[in-house]
């Protein structure tokens, strides 16, 4: 199959060199994957597979045609189809792409222990070990332990002469326990993943132990009362908070052609306190959102989205950058070769502040400490993010455990309600990721230090 890939690659280069259009790029991938899912006492599924994929994007007289396929020996035909599609468009306003220089480079994941050299038996036994920890309490009703690995050869080429290749290796585990007492059932889960080898997933017994303990502890948690609270977010939740509350709004495709939103998002607008710095950086190789280059062949930037509380940048694809006359940031990402690149985050985080975690607690007489994350969603202005569990805070001390703590805010006032930022930044990823425009889950990572927000709406009975 490697031969087929190489053949496709040379044919793609040839096609691009003679193609008459404004711009074109071709992406090709071939890869294999393995996933194993165990539950309490059984093997739910073992799935292995192989995927080849190709796509051609052409820009003809300011119009885009796009073709995707799995028969990578037929790139020429599909290129013709993409050109035909583009030619059908009566252009009202030409699409343009911001300039990018031609790059020719190869990247590859360097694993410590290549999982392709690890016998299946060893992977299965490792997962069985985690699964037995997840079931190790009598109140555990069900568990789910997933091991997932993927290997992919990926190539990006365009008419500007760029040829980039990335040999990826990615693996991770997802661990969940569901505990039950009477009519109350509480699931809790954690996931660890990233580019690398088998070393990413070994030695995680403590993670499994924490998952089962938390799930059992949550049975005694009381439902939170609805209302407005001062809330301390732990680093994981502060990461999801910034991803939902602000990250998506920084994606320029939401605003680049909307004059009203563009006005709201003018560079220089004050969004938060002086100590607030928000960054997106696809270069961090240890994080799930790492990209050596984006799916438009652009190297990722470290982009300051908020600097000292002030809106200072946004995330671009080549199309949105051209439209807004700004520099591209290397955030044109696609969920696989068969999807079109759109503006996406990579590794997004709140940078360290000057307080300590203790300072934050000391300044809260009455509030909530929200911990870990189930998920989040935004409509760009309003957003929610769900903590897995939480604690009351009384006079700076952690009190009763709370559940069903779902927080909600509005970007135009919640960020400015950030009161204190600690200095204990941590990044998180895991299997799963972010969804947008029908493309997901795209691997991203998120993080932050502990932060204290003054006025957060939490749903619940009053």
């Amino acid at each position: 199959m490697s031969e087929k890939f190489q053949k496709a690659l040379s044919s793609a280069e040839k096609i691009l060199s003679s193609l008459k259009c404004d711009f074109a790029d071709i992406r090709i991938s071939k890869g294999s994957s393995l996933s194993v899912a165990l539950s309490k006492s059984s093997t739910d599924s073992i799935s292995t597979g192989e995927t080849v994929a190709g796509s051609v994007r052409v820009l003809v007289d300011g119009a885009i045609g796009f073709a995707t396929f799995n028969d990578i020996s037929e790139i020429e035909n599909f290129t013709r189809m993409a050109v035909n599609s583009a030619e059908k468009i009566v252009v009202k306003e030409r699409v343009a792409l911001s300039p990018a220089s031609a790059v020719r480079r190869n990247f590859s994941t360097v694993p410590e222990i290549d999982f392709q050299d690890v016998p299946f038996d060893e992977k299965f036994e490792l997962l069985k070990g985690y699964n037995s920890i997840l079931s190790s309490h009598e109140l555990v009703q069900s568990t789910r332990a997933i091991y997932s690995e993927s290997v992919q050869k990926y190539a990006y080429l365009n008419t500007e002469g760029t040829l980039l290749e990335f040999d990826k290796k990615y693996c991770g585990v997802s661990l969940m326990s569901v505990s039950k007492k009477g009519a109350v059932m509480q699931p809790f889960h954690n996931s660890i993943s990233g580019y690398g080898g088998f070393e990413k997933v070994t030695g995680l017994e403590h993670v499994a132990e924490d998952v089962v303990k938390t799930s059992v502890d949550m049975l005694e948690a009381v439902p939170v009362q609805g209302g407005r609270y001062r809330v301390i977010l732990d680093p994981k939740l502060s990461g999801v908070f910034i991803h939902e509350a602000f990250g998506h709004l920084s994606e320029a495709d939401f605003i680049h052609e909307n004059p009203a939103l563009k006005k709201e998002m003018e560079i220089g607008r004050v969004f938060g306190p002086q100590g607030l710095n928000v960054i997106d950086d696809g270069n961090i190789a240890e994080c799930s959102g790492y990209i050596p280059f984006d799916d438009e062949g652009v190297m990722p930037e470290k982009t300051m989205l908020i600097k000292n509380g002030i809106l200072s940048g946004r995330l671009h694809s080549r199309e949105t950058a051209a439209k807004m006359n700004e520099k591209t940031t290397g955030n044109g990402r696609a969920m696989g070769v068969m999807k079109e690149p759109i503006v996406r985050m990579t590794n997004t985080f709140i940078d360290n502040g000057s307080s300590t975690k203790q300072d934050l607690f000391d300044s809260v007489d009455e509030g909530i400490y929200a911990v870990d994350v189930i998920g989040g969603q935004t409509n760009l202005e309003m957003f929610t993010f769900s903590s897995s569990y939480a604690y009351e805070i009384k006079n700076g001390k952690k009190g009763r455990m709370l559940r069903d703590v779902i927080l909600s805010g509005n970007v135009f006032n919640t960020l400015s309600s950030i009161n204190m930022i600690a200095d204990d930044l941590q990044m998180f990823g895991g299997l799963g990721g972010c969804g947008k425009g029908g493309q997901g889950p795209l691997p991203v990572s998120f993080g932050g230090p502990h932060i204290l927000i003054n006025d957060v709406l939490i749903g619940g009975k009053e």
Binding site: K4, S47, F66, V178, M185, P187
Partner: protein, 430 residues
Amino acid sequence: MKDRILKNIPAGVRWFDAVITGGNSTPLIFKNNRLHSINHRENSGAGIRLNVNGRTGFSFTNDPDGIEAAVERAQNVTPYSDEENFSLPESTGHSFEPYDERIEKFSVDEEIEKGNEVIEYLGSKFQGISVDLGITSSTGTFSLVNSNGLDASYRDSIYSASVSVTYMPEGGAKVDTYESISSLYPVNFRHLADRIVQKLESASKPAMLLSGRYPLYLPPSAFIRFLGIMLSGLNSIAVWKGVSPLGDKLNEKFFHESFSLHDNPLLPGSPYSFPFDGDGVSGKEKSLIENGMIKNFISDLKYSEKLGMDMSGNASRGFSSMPMPSFSNIIVGEGSEPDRNLVAGIKKGIWAEQFIGLGQSNSVSGDFSANLDLAYLVENGEIAGRLKDCMISGNIYELLKGDFQLSAERETRGSALVPSVLFGGINFSS
């Protein structure tokens, strides 16, 4: 592909089946009020499941030259699986196809015109509105072959259109709303724009409501999203794992007697119908909830065997996945009140259209807490303005046990036929 698979099945296999799918689609993508790109998509692949000594392995490929390797991979993992003793079907009972030949008349030029008309119409109503639109025509084939002699296939077609808008009036708040339709063949979708106009007009002025407990009205599209929180409780996997609150309630009255829910893969004219499922089991209509009583769960062969229940024929399967129980067409029983009476009877309450964060609900317990993405205050039976920066919360199981009214009219939203609903009381925080 089929011959290659059959040729490569090794000796000593107790049973096997293979799914082969292929298809292509043409999505037209309009962004920010104009046609942005035209796509052409093709994909095909095969998934092979085989059982050796009672244990099942699975592998897939979308490379025709990769069949041999896929069969080998599937075989290699069988010793690690659990024992499964169900048998595969020998034949299927229905011959219809979820396919309409009118899909072949899909014309890119006509569809561009339809899209542009909707964009112009919305633009004429709301200055500065940003309209995104997707129109897609897809056709495909689904083939299933197994070691018990089953060799069946069907064509499928689906046409879908979705319109989503962002509108931010001068000095007002941003509203995002969307509507979509799917069908076996190209249809007119102008009415989606009318629904959007109605929602934007209802949201045009702000309203305030103090925290408290209020009646909640949900139109069909919002009601089915709400029901999404509890649908996993009707899945045999959740039942078998003991994480469904409905698992031990079979033939018990659990919900209010006005609540009935069916699953029907044989519904004529629906792109979500199928003659047989991913295991090869014939599709059949089944009552899951009848007048509040739990009657059945959706299952595939594997979980039917584990639970010792009848096959429900709900195995969903693409080439790259193992069969998994999943819903086909969901049909919620109607009520007796005309829809307009439900709203007319509200003194002070909430009409919710869209939510943020409903997907993070605890589907095991049914607890939810969501921001109201688009909702209105209803006063004395009339919409009095938009509620925002607020949340509702509760428990879906408790709500459906308690006091609610369903409308006599029902509408199709995605794969569901649903009435609207009025719940007596919901917690509201602002």
